[in-house]
């Protein structure tokens, strides 16, 4: 394909062709309030509403659960505890260590202990409060450092080693060590977790779930209810945001709903309120990072050792792959020659942490960007010079610490262009000038790069399926294993099909993800949704197109080469018929008009035991320059200007990709500045609603926000129309904001000291860092 795909996209006259900025397929429904989310689906008349009783202790044995008052509360129909689960009491996706309802031991505040079904949401929630649970308290481990000291891990510690970091550091001209803590992040999808389970005949279950992974809901519901996969169907038309928070977490919600539906024989809906959602479900892992580095006088890293430790919480969940990805991304765009990376996966008595856009990658990158910035401050040079000094080379210095050759490196071009278009040099000088004259307010500026590996690191997950029906009127029903969470996947895949069949996009019905249509699908995650499902749908469309081509050649007595699809028509030699007409003719001649497509990502192979191979099909790149101003009296800060240049390959839909870049970036800014998760000494999360947990608001987005996509830069790998995945990478562009704040803080000591700034850089964290700079003056 390749070259001809690119020409065919340019020539397309159809509406919604690949590469055009068609709006999100649901945009009109969103804006009129007619888009149906799980809670909007009409409820069966006898629906029951559920609520969940949660543990009040971080670590305790349950002595007694007294639900008498709950059962007799108004409207209550049934209650359920661990003892009532007929199948396996587990919703853990990888390791079976995540009970649906706590079986006697509670391991975090907020863990589900029992569920209640009642006639209304209000009745269920009021009833839950009436439970009496007696606990026998056990010692909790609530933070990472304590967990390391106690060797409390959910999984064994991992290590990647290349070369001899010890002696490289010892022999280097300069050495530094440092550490930082990096807070977690709640996904804060606007639509909370929800599922509705409907009992069907013969004990089967139909589950509506707001999930990125219907197949896993199907599996875990089947296991919990003692059924097999064939007995359960899971459907999801759309989610009101997910960001990784609906990869493994919805299983708990769906299992509770399904179990109660099984028990009562009635439809059961569980919708978590915001507080319960934030207390009970997992978030981005918080990390501590320690490093030791040796480097030369130009700042080139000669040897480096990292210790990453993350708070995984009480169970494994997806922590293995997340922490692996942190290890894979602690190089970011830099070549690390002699390197040792140690990764601890800490078990704590807090909620089990989970996927969130970037999936460990952001935390790994945070580590290396910290090192590079520290080196620059130590040497007294512009951090950008140190960054460039360490970039992966082209044809040399190009192998990652996990032995994948970086073959598609474009970071040099991106950074060069961005330095130019953002006027970086002049602005650095201006910032210095401003700071000289301004004792209270200080400005800071930073450029940071992103290189992000695309594919699931677990090779087997890199597969996708699609199902395509063409009806006799020439309209198309499209289904695939991906899910729609707002990222525009459904639109992009429909564009691919429109392009293949050369029909307008409004001839294609986009349909809900459904385990009975496309089986065994992977989660829509790892940014790979459009890469994989786009390909699978393309393959399905090509099958049908091939059949139609063959048919048309026969029917019109021309060669297959003379059959051309274009602009809702098909030309066969001198005959031109509409697509619909050809379809009708084909149906009449008993040609199959339905096809499946299956795709597996090529080239990848990777050995988890040695951490080596090619986990990633390709890399996505980008860079950002951010400028901030801070108040050294209060630590308050504002982002005043952002310039981004990001690589989407040959974009399938520039409007949707732009949305991913802007939205991902701002989400990252929240992670690094205002979104603080705060637990008290009793292990209770106290920031569990938007009143206390602050994601960016409109005014946090700078007026001067210049985002561009890298032009004429098709993916060097043969991806769907040479596009690149864009879901996760832009989030990490926000590291530029964190480093701009560091830059402003460093100006307090006239750039003579490395700032010690933890993330999130709340006003408090910034003021602490400023104060430390002043003390050392």
């Amino acid at each position: 394909m390749g070259a001809d795909a690119i020409t065919s996209r340019a020539n397309s006259k159809i509406a919604g062709a690949v590469g055009t900025a068609v709006p999100h397929d649901s945009a009109r429904l969103h804006a009129t309030g007619r888009a149906a989310y799980t809670d909007d689906i009409p409820e069966p008349r006898d629906v029951l509403h559920l609520a969940v009783g949660m543990s009040a202790k971080p670590h305790a044995r349950i002595r007694r659960i007294d639900l008498a008052a709950v059962i007799s509360a108004p409207g209550v129909v049934a209650v359920m505890t661990a003892a009532d689960i007929p199948g396996e009491n587990n919703c853990g996706p990888v390791v079976h260590d995540d009970p649906i309802l706590a079986p006697g031991l509670v391991q975090y505040v907020g863990q589900a202990v029992f569920s209640v079904a009642a006639g209304s949401v209000d009745q269920a929630r009021r009833a839950v409060r009436l439970a009496k649970i007696e606990y026998e308290a056990l010692d909790p481990i609530l933070d990472i450092r304590k967990a390391i000291a106690a060797k409390s891990f959910v999984l064994p510690t991992q290590k990647i080693e290349r070369g001899d970091s010890k002696s490289a550091i010892a022999n280097a001209a300069h050495r530094l060590n440092g550490s930082a803590t990096l807070g977690g992040q709640d996904q804060f999808y606007l639509e909370g977790q929800i599922a509705m389970a409907l009992p069907a005949e013969d004990g089967d279950l139909f589950v509506y779930s707001s999930t990125q992974h219907p197949g896993e809901i199907q599996l875990l519901v089947a296991e919990a209810t003692g059924k097999t996969l064939k007995d359960v169907i899971v459907e999801c038309r759309r989610m009101g945001g997910a960001f990784g928070g609906k990869e493994s977490q919805p299983a708990l919600i769906a299992c509770i709903a399904a179990l109660m539906a099984q028990k009562t024989g009635r439809a059961c809906k569980l919708r978590l309120d915001r507080d319960t959602d934030m207390i009970m479900t997992g978030k981005r892992h918080d990390f501590v990072v320690d490093y030791e580095v040796g480097f030369n006088e130009r700042g080139r890293i000669e040897g480096i050792e990292f210790m990453f430790a993350s708070r995984c919480g009480m169970s494994v969940d997806l922590s293995g792959a997340i922490n692996d990805r942190a290890m894979f991304h602690c190089d970011n765009a830099y070549f690390l020659d002699n390197v040792t990376i140690v990764s601890h996966r800490c078990k704590t008595n807090t909620v089990s942490n989970t996927a969130f856009r970037g999936f460990g990658g952001p935390q790994g990158m945070f580590g290396i960007e910290l090192v590079v910035d520290d080196i620059a401050r130590h040497l007294g040079v512009d951090p950008l010079e140190v960054r460039r000094e360490n970039f992966y080379g082209i044809g040399e210095r190009d192998t990652t610490q996990y032995r994948q050759k970086v073959e598609d490196n474009i970071i040099h071009e991106i950074v060069d262009e961005l330095v130019r278009t953002s006027d970086y040099r002049k602005r650095v000088a201006k910032v210095r000038e401003f700071n000289q004259a301004s004792p209270v307010l200080k400005r800071g500026i930073a450029l940071t790069p992103v290189k992000f590996g695309i594919s699931f690191t677990a090779t087997h997950l890199n597969q996708a399926g699609a199902l395509l029906h063409v009806y006799t009127d020439g309209t198309v029903h499209l289904n695939h294993g991906g899910t729609e969470m707002g990222q525009g996947l459904f639109t992009k895949v429909a564009q691919v099909v429109a392009n293949e069949l050369q029909i307008d996009i409004d001839r294609i019905k986009i349909t809900a993800s459904d385990t009975s249509k496309v089986p065994n699908a992977s989660a829509t995650a790892a940014s790979s949704g459009s890469d994989m499902n786009g390909k699978a749908a393309q393959i399905a469309a090509k099958k049908i197109k091939d059949r139609l081509t063959e048919f048309a050649a026969n029917h019109f007595s021309v060669t297959e080469l003379d059959v051309v699809f274009g602009n809702n028509e098909v030309r066969a030699g001198n005959n031109t018929v509409s697509f619909a007409e050809l379809v009708r003719l084909a149906w009449f001649s008993r040609i199959s008009l339905s096809a499946t497509g299956f795709y597996r990502t090529p080239k990848i192979n990777y050995d988890r035991a040695t951490f080596s191979g090619r986990p990633f099909f390709y890399f996505a790149y980008g860079a950002a320059v951010s400028e901030v101003i801070i108040d050294t009296l209060t630590g308050e800060h504002r982002l005043t200007r952002v310039d981004i240049l990001h690589d989407c390959g040959a974009s399938l839909n520039p409007a949707i990709d732009m949305g991913q870049i802007q939205g991902g970036f701002i989400q990252g800014v929240g992670w690094l500045t205002s979104e603080e998760l705060w637990w008290n000494a009793e292990g209770e999360l106290k920031t569990h609603a938007p009143s206390t947990y602050k994601i960016p608001a409109c005014s946090d987005v700078p007026e001067d926000f210049r985002v561009r996509m890298l032009e004429s830069s098709p993916n060097r790998e043969e991806t769907i129309y040479r596009s690149k995945a864009v879901g996760e990478p832009p989030l990490m562009l926000s590291l530029s904001v964190f480093h701009a704040i560091r830059d402003a803080v460093a100006s307090v000591s006239n750039n003579t000291r490395r700032p010690r700034l933890d993330s999130p850089a709340t006003p408090e964290a910034v003021l602490n860092a400023v104060t430390e700079q002043q003390v050392s003056e």
Binding site: D39, R125, L767, T771
Partner: protein
């Protein structure tokens, strides 16, 4: 039972409001039911979403239309349906996202959001539509900053807001706009559409007070101040409801049961602001939105404080009276009002008394209000020539956040010496309070670096703040001191800008 209560001959048992041009009349509503529950659960009108049930995310934003004090113009206001109790809609018009597009044609606000790619997951979108709709009704040509302010109560986790801001601009360009009726602030004349809406509202208006009983709970919405006073005296355990931006959360977040609610919103005497006898005199039920312009006009330096107070939908419902009565240690209006020597007029039955706001707070969430007593008015002295007033709010996010620390200052100098000083803080103690030692240390002193440094140290003795999710006690101490220093810098020669306003 008081004589006057029995005097009231008729009370209405059913509430009425307008939806999609139709009068909706409901009997026996549960007074603890929210507008959002009514829309989603009873009507299954599901365009309006729940994202938090605490007024903080905007997914539930709807627009409420009613007549202003004159009765001749409309007020078009976005509010959070998740914390508004249903009976507060009585006598008003409700617009939801479904109300906007007629015959499948998109309203210009909706069209702009589609054209600018302003939705991704779309869950926040109906709320943004309604906030933008209200903006369009009230502001002819908003600046970026006014757009930010209008959207301060709407969170979007997907888009990063840029396309939504663009839509806010594009919706004005749409020629269809000419067909849309405009709000009071946008046109000096009453258009036909506005007129017909006023007529419709008049048609459901009545002087008969509302008294609803449903699900074992009562909701009184008296019209006359005397009647209100009697009801409060008669039901000392009742919950007085103003905007409900605190009270609503007791129900939606804590599942509390409020058996008797007495609503201030329809009480004629509580709904006006005036300048009287050297005071800004603000009725307890005046919304923050309506009280703000008067306060800012007299104290322009307090603009940032009020613009950063919650969000437009919260300010449209919430009142200054509610903020004061609620008595939270982190309420934003109190430090400023304390240094301005504000008085609150309290009333029980027929008798009133005036209490200095500074003496109103007794202990954590305990005020001077006696059983059966309520706040009738808030009286803020008019500015004094030559004095300087300032208030600073410190929070993790600039917009729609609760203060970690809020400081307020009032200074009168004579010959470079401090003749009068007021310093008060929220977030530093169990109640909003003056910093007496700090004030003492400054009285009569030179307004200088040296005396301000001493006063900063005195602040350490004034307060022992706590650590919580908003900040550590140490940060509170540091920033409390530094804000005094900022006030000094701003009032002495070396003016500093605040980061809040830079870059926009």
């Amino acid at each position: 039972m008081s004589a006057r209560d029995l005097d009231v001959p008729v009370q209405r048992r059913s509430m009425r409001f307008i939806l999609d041009g139709e009068v909706v009349e409901i009997e026996n509503v549960d007074p603890n039911r929210t507008v959002l529950q009514y829309l989603r659960e009873d009507l299954r009108r599901c365009g309006t979403k729940e994202g938090c049930a605490e007024g903080d995310c905007g997914a539930c934003t709807v627009v409420v239309v009613d007549r202003d004090v004159s009765g001749k113009r409309l007020r078009v206001r976005a509010v959070n349906s998740c914390i508004q109790f249903l009976p507060t809609l009585d006598g008003k018009e409700l617009l939801t996202v479904e109300s906007l597009s007629t015959d499948g044609e998109l309203h210009p606000t909706q069209k702009a959001l589609v054209d600018c790619h302003g939705s991704q997951c779309g869950f926040c979108t109906p709320g943004f539509v309604m906030s933008l709709f209200a903006l369009h009704k009230n502001n002819a040509d908003p600046t970026r900053r006014e757009i930010d302010e209008a959207l301060a109560g709407n969170l979007c986790r997907c888009t990063g807001y840029s396309p939504i801001v663009e839509a806010a601009r594009v919706m004005y360009a749409d020629e269809l706009q000419s067909k849309c009726w405009l709000g009071q602030s946008r046109s000096s004349t009453v258009g036909a559409d506005e007129q017909s809406r006023i007529v419709a509202l008049n048609s459901i208006d009545t002087d008969v007070p509302l008294c609803i009983e449903g699900h074992g709970r009562k909701f009184f919405a008296p019209r006359e101040l005397d009647h209100f006073a009697d009801l409060v005296a008669l039901h000392p355990d009742a919950t007085i409801l103003s905007g409900g931006t605190d009270v609503g959360l007791w129900v939606t977040k804590q599942q509390r049961d409020l058996p008797i609610i007495i609503y201030t919103g329809n009480v004629a005497g509580l709904n006006e602001c005036l300048v009287d006898d050297g005071y800004l005199d603000i009725g307890a039920a005046v919304s923050l939105t309506d009280a703000m312009p008067l306060i800012i006009e007299n104290y322009p330096t307090l603009e940032e404080l009020f613009v950063r107070f919650a969000s437009p939908p919260i300010r449209n419902a919430g009142t200054l009276g509610g903020n004061i009565a609620n008595g939270s240690p982190i309420g934003d209006s109190m430090p400023a009002l304390i240094v301005l020597e504000t008085e609150v007029v309290l009333r029980t039955g027929g008798s009133t008394r005036s209490v200095a706001l500074n003496d109103f707070y007794l202990a954590y969430q305990r005020t001077a209000l006696r059983p059966g007593e309520f706040i009738e008015r808030i009286r803020i002295p008019l500015p004094v020539e030559g004095e300087q007033v300032q208030s600073y709010k410190i929070s993790k996010r600039f917009d729609q956040d609760i203060s970690a620390v809020c400081g307020a200052y009032r200074l009168q100098l004579a010959d470079g010496k401090v003749e009068k000083i007021g310093v008060a803080y929220g977030g530093m103690a169990a109640i909003p309070s003056r910093a007496s030692l700090c004030e003492q240390s400054l009285m009569g002193q030179e307004w200088s670096e040296a005396s301000v440094s001493r006063a900063m140290q005195a602040l350490d003795k004034d307060f022992s703040p706590i650590s919580d999710m908003r900040s550590s006690s140490q940060y509170r101490r540091n920033v409390c001191r530094n804000l005094l220093r900022r006030f000094y810098l701003e009032t002495s020669a070396s003016v500093i800008e605040r980061v809040y306003s830079i870059g926009r």
